[in-house]
């Protein structure tokens, strides 16, 4: 159904091809979160892989930064409709974390957990094989607190609510368990190209 009198402000063809449905291009970097930025002290920061309630491996900030580094560049998409092109990230891949812990993923699903008590679920298959990382740098500089620094999850091919800010660990779960937004009506997976914003999309 077309809206009477609406013509729209179309982006150029090349831009439009890179925009998933319902998204618009922004030049700045909007912020989305449920509360204030948590206070995080690098001296006590830690990152933990766990299975259920059982810790598998933890890293201090120094130990984390000694892990092999990886980079990713490309477009990111937020469920609130903005997309940002050509972003550049650096951090430690999910594969490198597992390798350093000397384990294979014990289950097919996990919940990313933030210092602000935020959680979001991600299938292991969407992090493994170079698809996801725990990022510490954006655009060549440490990630600022507003964008989730010192470290955030980066799962660039899913809506950005999956890329949990201020991440403190990944907890493997037996089933695919909904996180903060997934329990509040957001889609369990969140593929921007299939416009999976809300339950049932």
């Amino acid at each position: 159904m077309s809206t009477r009198g609406f013509t729209g402000r179309r982006p150029p063809e090349a831009t439009r091809e890179r925009l998933p449905p319902g998204q618009y291009l922004t030049e700045d970097f909007p912020v989305l979160q449920i509360g204030p930025n948590p206070r995080i002290d690098l001296a006590t920061w830690s990152f933990t892989l766990s299975e259920g309630s059982k810790p598998l491996k933890s890293w201090t900030w120094d130990a984390f930064n000694a892990l092999p580094r990886t980079r990713w560049g490309g477009d990111i998409h937020c469920v609130t409709k903005w997309s940002k092109f050509d972003t550049a990230w650096e951090g430690v891949s999910f594969d490198a974390l597992l390798a350093d812990a000397g384990i294979a993923a014990p289950t097919d699903f996990l919940l990313a957990e933030g210092y602000d008590d935020y959680t979001t679920n991600v299938p292991v298959a969407d992090l493994a094989g170079g698809k996801g990382m725990v990022a510490t740098h954006y655009d060549g500089a440490p990630i600022p607190p507003d964008h989730g620094g010192p470290a955030r999850l980066l799962v660039p091919h899913l809506y950005f609510w999956k890329s949990a800010k201020w991440v403190k660990g990944l907890r493997f779960t037996k089933r695919d368990e909904g996180g903060f937004w997934e329990l509040r009506g957001y889609h369990m997976y969140g593929d921007p190209w299939r416009e999976q914003r809300f339950t049932g999309d």
Partner: protein, 240 residues
């Protein structure tokens, strides 16, 4: 415990039944729409516009009206000069139009009487909209819960629902209003204004902050510095 709603969120046809000015840059749009689930104060809708060739634009707008109601909802949309969607509402939309929307959406920035108070509400510009829904709901359902609205607008003519807010502050014994204007020698929300709000309200059970990114970031920092427990602070960002 949160019970997830397993039902898909359908696109609905909403009929525009009223347009009225709400401030120098903001108009009130009233829609007749039948949501298939209950609404909570603070939630928003997604609006979708479609051009004749199928091109679509979507944006989010907070619901200004309280839960319950008469089958209509109110949106308060600031007409931005180059805005693709807000510009359409400002210049083109007319009573009788059908607009697609879905909602209510959002489960973090919500308040109801069962959540208790005192309530510290802080809005910048159009960020007052979801707070207005909370205030209207509170006045009808739980007027004994103390609430204070600290509202920052650029100038007096840009304050949304200024008349309604002033009347509420006068008539509702447990509602207090602090309006601050940033232009013409005015003042941004700083540590002093926060201290004064906390002094007048007492220790809040919940703080709700809404506005542009920069506004929400700055005010959230001030609240944490003022000693508020971060887990009591709820934020909603309109972008910009």
């Amino acid at each position: 415990m949160i019970e997830p709603d397993p039902r898909p969120l359908p696109w609905l046809n909403a009929t525009l039944v009223g347009i009225a000015p709400a401030s120098a840059r903001v108009k009130s749009y009233r829609f007749r729409v039948a949501f298939d689930r209950p609404m909570r104060a603070g939630q928003h809708v997604d609006v979708r516009l479609t051009a004749p060739d199928g091109y679509q634009a979507q944006r989010s707008y907070s619901i200004a009206s309280p839960p319950g109601g008469d089958g209509t909802i109110e949106l308060l949309i600031e007409g931005l000069p180059e805005g693709e969607v807000s510009g359409f509402f400002d210049a083109v939309a007319a009573v009788g139009d059908t607009i697609e929307m879905r909602g209510p959406i959002g489960g973090a920035f919500v308040w109801g009487p069962e959540d208790g108070g005192p309530l510290l509400l802080i809005g910048g510009g159009s960020g007052v909209v979801p707070l207005l829904s909370m205030l209207r709901h509170r006045a009808a359902a739980a007027p004994e819960i103390p609430a204070l609205l600290l509202y920052s607008a650029r100038e007096a003519g840009e304050a949304i629902a200024a008349g309604e807010l002033a009347t509420r502050a006068r008539d509702e014994p447990h509602f207090d209003l602090m309006l601050t204007l940033t232009r013409a020698g005015g003042r941004r929300i700083d540590a002093g204004l926060i201290a004064e709000a906390l002094e007048r309200l007492g220790s809040p059970r919940h703080a709700y902050l809404c506005g542009s990114n920069a506004f929400v970031s700055a005010v959230a920092e001030r609240l944490v510095e003022a000693g508020l427990d971060p887990s009591l602070i709820h934020t909603e960002r309109f972008g910009g």
